[in-house]
């Protein structure tokens, strides 16, 4: 898929840029800090590499910006472009969330008087619905910015997020193996 390879390129470039920024800022970092920085720059690179910005990517970026320690990295990586976007989206997210809430209240009031047509499958359907509800809750927690989405857009966002996670994992894996190869050869050279 040539579109995914362009995404990979974008992601890689931004990620390496972010890592170089990290590298230049602090000289000494312990393992966990380094890992966090790597992961953060990877996530932000992924989110910003999505050119038509999806809601999960904006949510990711706005979450990252809230954390005061990382704002420098985030801002330098993103530039001034994305300053406008998160605000708009938070407003939109809030209004969507409210709409979802109102809709739920309306539904409950309307469905209060309805009766189930088929009594045979009553228990099964109730169970199934509960399962689905539970799992959509879990999915909402997983996908960034998924709390304030209705079910339909949640699925779409989840799909998009999945695809980009896949891309991220592929790129990271190849970088890791490349780094491994280099380090192994260095060791071999030292041994000689």
């Amino acid at each position: 898929m040539h579109t995914s390879s362009t995404l990979k390129k974008e992601f890689l470039k931004k990620w390496i840029k972010g890592l170089q920024i990290c590298c230049s800022s602090n000289k000494k970092m312990d393992l966990m800090e380094r890992k966090k920085k790597i992961k953060l720059s990877a996530d932000i690179a992924m989110a910003s590499a999505k050119n038509p910005a999806t809601s999960w990517s904006n949510a990711l970026i706005s979450e990252a910006k809230k954390n005061k320690q990382d704002t420098i990295l985030v801002n330098s990586l993103l530039g001034t472009e994305s300053d406008l976007k998160p605000q708009k989206n938070t407003d939109r997210i809030i209004s969507v969330h409210k709409r979802v809430q109102y809709k739920k209240i309306l539904k409950r009031s309307c469905n209060a008087g309805k009766r189930m047509n088929k009594k045979k499958n009553l228990v099964a359907t109730i169970l199934a619905k509960r399962l689905v509800k539970k799992r959509t809750k879990v999915l909402k927690r997983l996908v960034p910015g998924g709390e304030s989405m209705n079910e339909f857009s949640l699925i779409k966002e989840a799909m998009d997020y999945m695809l980009s996670l896949k891309v991220q994992v592929d790129v990271m894996r190849s970088v890791v193996t490349a780094a491994e190869v280099l380090s192994e050869d260095k060791l071999m050279k030292l041994v000689e």
């Binding site: 898929m1 579109t3 995914s4 390879s5 990979k8 390129k9 890689l12 470039k13 390496i16 890592l19 590298c23 970092m29 380094r34 890992k35 920085k37 790597i38 992961k39 999505k50 038509p52 999806t54 809601s55 709409r99 809709k103 309306l106 539904k107 309307c110 689905v132 799992r135 959509t136 999915l139 997983l142 996908v143 339909f152 857009s153 699925i155 779409k156 989840a158 799909m159 998009d160 997020y161 999945m162 695809l163 996670l165 991220q168 994992v169 990271m172 894996r173 190849s174 970088v175 890791v176 193996t177 490349a178 780094a179 491994e180 190869v181 280099l182 192994e184 050869d185 260095k186 050279k189």
Partner: protein
């Protein structure tokens, strides 16, 4: 004035259950509305908005059918001329549609959507590019089902969700046999969680490997690999890779490049790119997430076996890389 609320999603409206009469009623309603309103500029904006939002990120990647279907539906809009005649005859149906629409309007969701049944699209060829400002989801009640507006909207919603679930089945590996929402959601959750864990694991691994977050050489190689995706399938292509790596090195500004060029003999740069690109290309085709971690370990073992014969050739590049890191 009617408003269009565009959500971030774009609903292609590929419901299979709609009839031809739905389409006719849509256009009839459109005509009626256009006669009542005079400002078409608003519609134009809406239409343009619809077209702009169309290139959906999710549509680009894994859903070729999806996006093609959308293309067919949205850009040439749904107006057919024979519907104008039918409009007069179907006035009683129109009234029914109006009542349904009012019911739908009471629902707080307002979406701009276009519906097209797959049966009718090959038959009707739209002529005029009229603005397709539709607010309400037009549904016809099937025989033996409730005609309540709420349940209709519910049904539409359910159908759309099931459509999306089908696409998800293609995305998430190993979901062909699972039917039903709950199972599918479970698989999705597991998959997303595993991907996130992989990211964590890989970033940890990278943190252990690179004490100083230095990625210069790797980045060069990786960039080179991306620019020429055909590399690495066989050693026959090795010569071209050598030349390309050389050109890439020439592009760089650091003074080490000259050293690299001198020290790197013919085969030196090739095994590196070959090794790296081979691991990269192995990842791309059909790696299931079930065996992903296993693949990673297998890959590492392969790397060890391939690097052993090449070790003596790496001297030049490492002198260069050491110098670079010291800077």
């Amino acid at each position: 004035m009617l408003h269009c609320h565009y959500t971030t999603m774009n609903i292609p409206g590929n419901t299979s259950g709609t009839d031809v009469s739905v389409l006719e009623r849509q256009q009839a309603r459109m005509k009626w509305r256009q006669q009542q309103q005079q400002g078409l500029s608003n519609d134009d904006h809406c239409f343009r908005g619809l077209v702009e939002i169309k290139p959906d990120p999710g549509l680009q990647y894994g859903w070729p059918d999806f996006s093609d279907a959308c293309q067919d539906q949205l850009i040439p809009p749904l107006v057919a001329d024979h519907n104008l005649k039918k409009r007069k005859t179907h006035e009683d149906h129109k009234q029914k549609a109006v009542s349904k629409e009012n019911g739908v309007k009471d629902k707080k969701i307002k979406r701009c959507s276009e519906e097209n049944s797959t049966e009718t699209s090959p038959k009707e060829k739209p002529k005029a590019v009229e603005t397709q400002k539709q607010e309400y989801i037009h549904v016809r009640a099937r025989r033996g089902q409730a005609t309540d507006s709420h349940s209709l909207a519910e049904r539409v919603r359910r159908e759309k969700i099931s459509e999306r679930m089908k696409y998800l089945q293609d995305l998430v590996p190993g979901c062909n046999k699972i039917t039903g929402k709950a199972g599918m959601l479970d698989e999705i959750i597991n998959y997303v969680q595993s991907l996130q864990k992989q990211v964590e694991f890989l970033s940890m691994k990278l943190a252990t490997l690179q004490p100083r977050l230095d990625f210069d050489i790797d980045s060069l190689i990786m960039k080179e690999m991306f620019e020429v995706p055909a590399i690495g399938y066989s050693s026959e292509v090795a010569n071209s890779t050598y030349f390309q790596v050389n050109s890439l090195l020439e592009m760089g500004n650091s003074p080490i490049d000259t050293m690299l060029r001198r020290s790197i003999g013919g085969p030196v740069s090739i095994p590196e790119t070959f090794v790296v690109s081979s691991c990269f290309n192995q990842m791309q085709p059909g790696v299931t997430w079930d065996g992903d971690l296993h693949n990673l370990y297998r890959m590492e073992i392969q790397q060890e076996s391939t690097t052993i014969p090449f070790q003596h050739k790496f001297t030049g590049s490492y002198e260069g890389s050491n110098l670079k890191m010291e800077l």
